[in-house]
């Protein structure tokens, strides 16, 4: 049942783009501006360059094992028991750091900025229900809806950039490289860890992509690049409007940016546009996470169907999203101290080891 469904490579590009934009667009600007100040855009560009290399690594891995998901690759490379244990640890931790954390960030944003009186659990449940619906209906359905909704997001995004561009002050980007190259590297790393490394999970759905013309890998790369360019533009504009200090201090600088739009005292309060872009991309990020996790669990335990797992996983998702971060200070320190090493392990070290292992095996076969 897992290999019957097919999505086109264009749909996969769109899914990758939305996945990359996902949590990056609203949270990244403040983190990266805190590290690199007005040079955040240089850091993000450096991150993009590193990201292209990382995605190429993922693509190479997918090319070496055509038609296999990440779990099946681990299975063939490490053997049944070790491979599945690694896969289970990977999936269990990803469930906490991925969808649960994203849902927590989302409901935090909603309760602090838009609906302060609504209890956090009810927002979580409402959002989780639509995510589960998407996962339950399957990848074909939510890819089609992504394809339908993507032009609207693009339109909203362009409208947003055009309206905000009345307020930019390019002098905020000066002086360039005030503190040399040193602060650039940590900022670039944090960008890569949010925008590119979690994309390893897309290897769980890459076998469902119609790969007759060898386009799946290219879709992964192009989607990642579009998503991160969108984010880089947002970072640059935020810093040009607010300057690095305010961007770093504010929790959701892009939301504050949308609030600032005022054309002739008439066109005002457009922050809902920003929030809509964010909700849609976060929705797809969470749906892809949950779909990949359910598929992975089904494959680890040799189940024929992934659907029975979806609703219980959803229940876990709702409760975990409240538990994962006890408070915002914990979240901030966890995001730098643990999220970065964690994504480095799953998105960089793990695929690198897998590539080395398969290279080693090929050598053995030849010799």
């Amino acid at each position: 049942m897992l290999n019957k469904v097919k999505i086109s490579s264009r749909q996969f590009t769109i899914l990758t783009t939305l996945f990359t934009i996902g949590s990056a667009i609203l949270v990244v600007p403040s983190g990266i501006a805190a590290l690199a100040k007005q040079d955040a855009w240089i850091a993000a560009l450096a991150g993009l360059a590193a990201g292209v290399i990382i995605i190429s690594m993922h693509i190479l891995l997918a090319k070496q094992h055509p038609g296999k998901t990440l779990v099946e690759m681990l299975d063939t490379l490490l053997g049944k028991w070790l491979g599945r244990t690694v896969a289970l640890v990977f999936i269990a931790t990803l469930f906490l750091c991925g969808p649960s954390a994203v849902l927590n960030i989302l409901s935090n944003f909603l309760t602090t900025q838009m609906m302060p009186e609504t209890p956090i659990q009810s927002l979580n449940i409402l959002f989780a229900v639509i995510v589960l619906m998407g996962v339950y209906l399957g990848i074909e359905t939510f890819s089609r809806s992504a394809e339908l909704i993507f032009p609207w997001i693009a339109l909203l995004y362009i409208a947003f950039i055009v309206l905000v561009s009345f307020d930019v002050k390019p002098t905020n980007l000066l002086p360039v490289l005030e503190n040399g190259m040193r602060p650039i590297w940590p900022a670039a790393l944090s960008f890569v860890c949010t925008a590119f490394l979690p994309n390893i999970i897309l290897l769980m759905i890459i076998p469902s992509v119609d790969n007759r013309r060898n386009e799946a890998g290219r879709a992964l790369l192009i989607g990642g690049i579009i998503g991160s360019v969108v984010t880089i533009v947002i970072i640059t504009i935020t810093i040009m409007v607010f300057g690095p200090e305010f961007t770093a201090r504010s929790m959701y600088p892009t939301y504050a940016l949308a609030r600032k739009i005022s054309i002739g005292n008439f066109l005002q309060r457009l922050e809902a546009i920003m929030a809509t872009i964010w909700f849609i991309s976060l929705y797809f990020r969470m749906t892809i996470y949950m779909y990949a996790i359910s598929i992975a669990l089904a494959q680890i335990f040799n189940l024929k169907e992934y659907r029975p797992l979806v609703l219980p996983l959803g229940m876990l998702l709702v409760v975990m999203s409240v538990i994962v971060y006890p408070n915002i200070t914990y979240q901030n320190s966890w995001d730098t101290r643990t999220w970065i090493p964690y994504t480095l392990v799953i998105g960089f070290i793990l695929p690198l080891l897998m590539l080395c292992l398969s290279g080693f095996r090929n050598l053995n076969k030849q010799g």
Binding site: L35, T93, L96, C97, R182, W185, P186, L189, S190, L297, F301, N302, L303, K304, E305, P308, L309, L311, P312, L313, M315, L316, V318, V319, M320, V322, I323, V324, Y325, P326, Y330, W334, T336, R337, T338, I340, P341, Y342, L344, V345
Partner: protein, 79 residues
């Protein structure tokens, strides 16, 4: 108490939606996986609604990755 009742009701709805289908298709392993995940979910939800403060599982990941994270701090890549 209302919270606990809500959790059990939600679990009941999930069971009603899934179990008859699984029984009909005779998917035994899937049924087991379903029950284990559901019990885990219900257990954690109920303890969350009664105890209020539950230690976050994120700290286990943090402990496991502490050496690596210390190394990255040492070479100046994270703060």
């Amino acid at each position: 108490m209302l919270g606990v009742a809500g959790i059990i009701a939600a679990a009941g709805v999930i069971i009603l939606l899934q179990v008859p289908v699984l029984r009909k298709k005779k998917l035994k392993k899937e049924l087991w996986a379903f029950w284990i995940l559901l019990l885990l979910g219900v257990g954690i939800s109920i303890s969350k609604s009664i105890l209020l403060n539950i230690p976050t599982p994120m700290s286990w990941i943090a402990i496991a990755l502490k050496p690596f994270s210390d190394f990255l701090i040492h070479i100046g890549l994270i703060k």
